[in-house]
Symmetry: C2
Subunit: 450 residues, 2 copies
């Protein structure tokens, strides 16, 4: 009964070749948008146009939403302006706004122009919200009812807007000033008797968000309350859109990727499809910065040229001390950055965190310091060398841990994203601190080291 | 009309003190579970017990699900075995299984014993699934109907199970062998006429998952298809549970945090609440490993003692070369690890990725190499030194980029998590490669450097 992906593909090509439109339609009837898109991508280029022609426009509209921007634009060109605008009328308008953002403004204009006036106005409005806010990810595909409706009125309205309500599970209740005053789930409608008043069965303590709220905060609200959608209202409390949980999942994935990119200093979004030149230039700023940081470290070492000249063995422990300090700072940074996502930050939390990290620095410093002192002593047979290296490491690990904790907190206080700004800062400072501490210790004890 | 959090808290304490149970109930009636939990945590300890006593058990059941394990267990003890087990009967059984997993098996037994037999059997079954699989995160709180029901039968059954169906939006359709054969949304029920057969209106191409599927794959399926729930079936196709989108969001957040922890080598979950000793010992394994890697780097340098002794200035560029190579490797690693989440991996993708990264290594290597050569030349007035440092950096950046790409792919091929295993491996190899290349170059050109 169920076909594998390959069998499905073969059958679809067969139907396309033999022009069997009805068989084709039956075959794809119950397929999910994602599957339609996968098939489109697997089809040889020569069959793609026919594949689209055989489909009704509603199907194309859901398929197109699953594709990458380049393929979306390719499809619009395949369809031509007129058919494209029909399809675009049927698309979720948040996805559509994203797509039109991808097209340059000039090439977007003819498409917007040929769309239905209502729809294109909505999309234009949507495009006016910053992309990473509630307004930027909301859709206007929802069904509203008046508070004085009966359940029967509500169901009748739902029947008219059945298609639009496909992936929705609530009706939004407005009063006579179009203000959002409640929500009613389809379940509530099923359980109520047909003559009941909506205002008697609706849930009134509706949690809504303003259009300019950051998308990350919208995501947190949906996650916290286990919602599957949240309404967006303007300053007057009027309903202007809704945000659905599937868009919120995308937000979570995107934000996590951004944190990882920032922490690993990969630079702006690089994925498997990015070409080499673009990827290089996205990575270069951070690397060039690191290069200059490296030169600063080098100039610190050169200040201790005399010491190093006398005991070349000091160089052996340099990579270890700088590496450990840097890593310790990054560990603390990662804990703080992810902690800021899920914790409320007050003075008490910060004080406790800093004391905790100070203790962590002490504990790991003492353990690693003793360990390296022992290794240095055994390796070079010089107890003083062991003490210099070990106590330097103790100090630099404490400094590294605290820098990795305090710097992101300060940045956060000043509304700078700690993930993006702390990396270079912490690396520079930790390099400078650790080499200075190490060579200062060595210079003090130089007579015992020679 | 709407109270702030503080006003709400003050009012609740007032009602508790004045024993006004009805006012209390009216006040909390429409609050969300998350809000009930926030209030519980904000209440002074002395009022918490009364707060629970004033609430009905259904409210306690949803409140408890929002708390951390320690507070949950504290509440169970506050309530006593009998009342606890009533509350537990009303909890989502996936949350309950997690809670009971937190209790040691011995202290879980009396709770399980006093629960309703059906419910405790279900929970026991649920506890038998590994925690990070579909079985571990599914719930049995769903409503099923038979395929030969009419819409009227379905709505009647829904009315009986109304409370259970509160956060659900689909009915699951079983045939006479209890096999899952379709789903019907509440919307479908509203739109259909009351005498229609379920089998005529149900959606039959249901996408389900097996109980042993990794939770990350479940999450991907829900994300891909924009589902709000997905059914779990056993080998015979029988429905055994469902997974809802809110649990999937938690999975996404958890997995992203895990990736970040692994990439930043923070060690197992450290949050703001972890105490210093635990946090230290979670971070130590990686730091001790790094320490030994540092010693290996040191011993490589010591092999070139002669070269270093002759030109101490070579030491100035060591931190820069090792740091840049390490960072370049981490950048590539992050791109690969996150890419593996969302890409299908075949030979073609891998070949293209490796060629891309080779080109990236070349481009950044040439640019950074020229830059540092120029800096070295200006700083030390020695052209050959510039060439040695610059060409070493070119080579090590290419090596670093490739190591950061190929090693995680190999690990992935052998089913080892690339995020956790590649970090140390890449750092070690890059340290060894970069220092060896640098000092070998320097040794070759030593006569021009002195």
């Amino acid at each position: 009964m169920y076909l594998t992906e390959d069998q499905l593909l073969v059958l679809i090509i067969k139907h396309i070749k033999e022009q069997k439109k009805t068989d084709f339609k039956n075959l794809i009837e119950e397929l999910q948008p994602y599957d339609l898109a996968v098939i489109y991508k697997s089809l040889p280029e020569k069959h793609r146009h026919k594949y689209l022609l055989f489909m009704d426009q509603k199907k194309i509209a859901v398929l197109i939403q699953e594709l990458e921007p380049e393929l979306q634009i390719d499809i619009l060109h395949k369809l031509g302006i007129e058919k494209s605008s029909n399809v675009m009328n049927l698309m979720e308008n948040d996805d559509l706004a994203d797509l039109l953002n991808e097209l340059s403004t000039d090439s977007a204009r003819p498409f917007l122009k040929s769309m239905e006036k209502d729809e294109s106005q909505t999309v234009k409005n949507l495009m006016s919200y910053p992309p990473e806010t509630a307004g930027g990810i909301m859709t206007n595909r929802y069904v509203w009812i008046r508070d004085n409706y009966t359940v029967r009125d509500a169901v009748d309205k739902l029947k008219v807007f059945a298609e639009m309500a496909e992936n929705l599970y609530y009706l939004y209740v407005l009063n006579d000033q179009k203000k959002l005053v409640g929500v009613v789930s389809y379940r509530d409608l099923l359980l109520a008797s047909i003559e009941e008043k909506i205002e008697d069965i609706m849930f009134t303590r509706v949690i809504s968000v303003p259009a300019d709220l950051d998308q990350e905060e919208v995501a947190t609200i949906i996650e916290r309350y286990d919602f599957i959608s949240v309404p967006v209202v303007d300053d007057a409390g009027k309903l202007i859109g809704i945000i659905t949980v599937d868009d919120v999942i995308d937000v979570f994935i995107k934000e996590a990727n951004e944190d990882i990119e920032k922490l690993s200093a990969t630079g702006k979004t690089i994925d498997f499809q990015t070409n080499a030149v673009t990827a290089s230039f996205r990575r270069l700023p951070w690397l060039v910065l690191l290069l200059f940081i490296g030169v600063i470290s080098g100039s610190i070492i050169s200040n201790f040229e005399g010491t190093l000249q006398k005991v070349v063995a000091l160089a052996y422990f340099m990579p270890m001390i700088a590496g450990m300090t840097g890593n310790t700072g990054t560990q603390s940074l990662a804990v703080v950055v992810r902690g800021l996502v899920s914790n409320e930050i007050d003075g008490n939390t910060i004080r406790k965190l800093i004391i905790r990290e100070l203790n962590v620095g002490l504990i790991i410093g003492v353990i690693c310091g003793l360990l390296i002192a022992l290794i240095a002593f055994i390796w070079k047979g010089n107890l003083i060398l062991g003490i210099v290296v070990g106590s330097s490491l103790l100090m630099t690990l404490i400094i590294g841990t605290l820098a990795g904790t305090i710097i992101p907190l300060i940045l956060y206080k000043f509304n700078v994203d700690p993930a993006v700004a702390s990396g270079p800062l912490i690396t520079t400072l930790n390099d400078i601190f650790s080499l200075t501490v190490y060579f200062t210790m060595a210079t003090i004890f130089i007579s015992y080291l020679m």
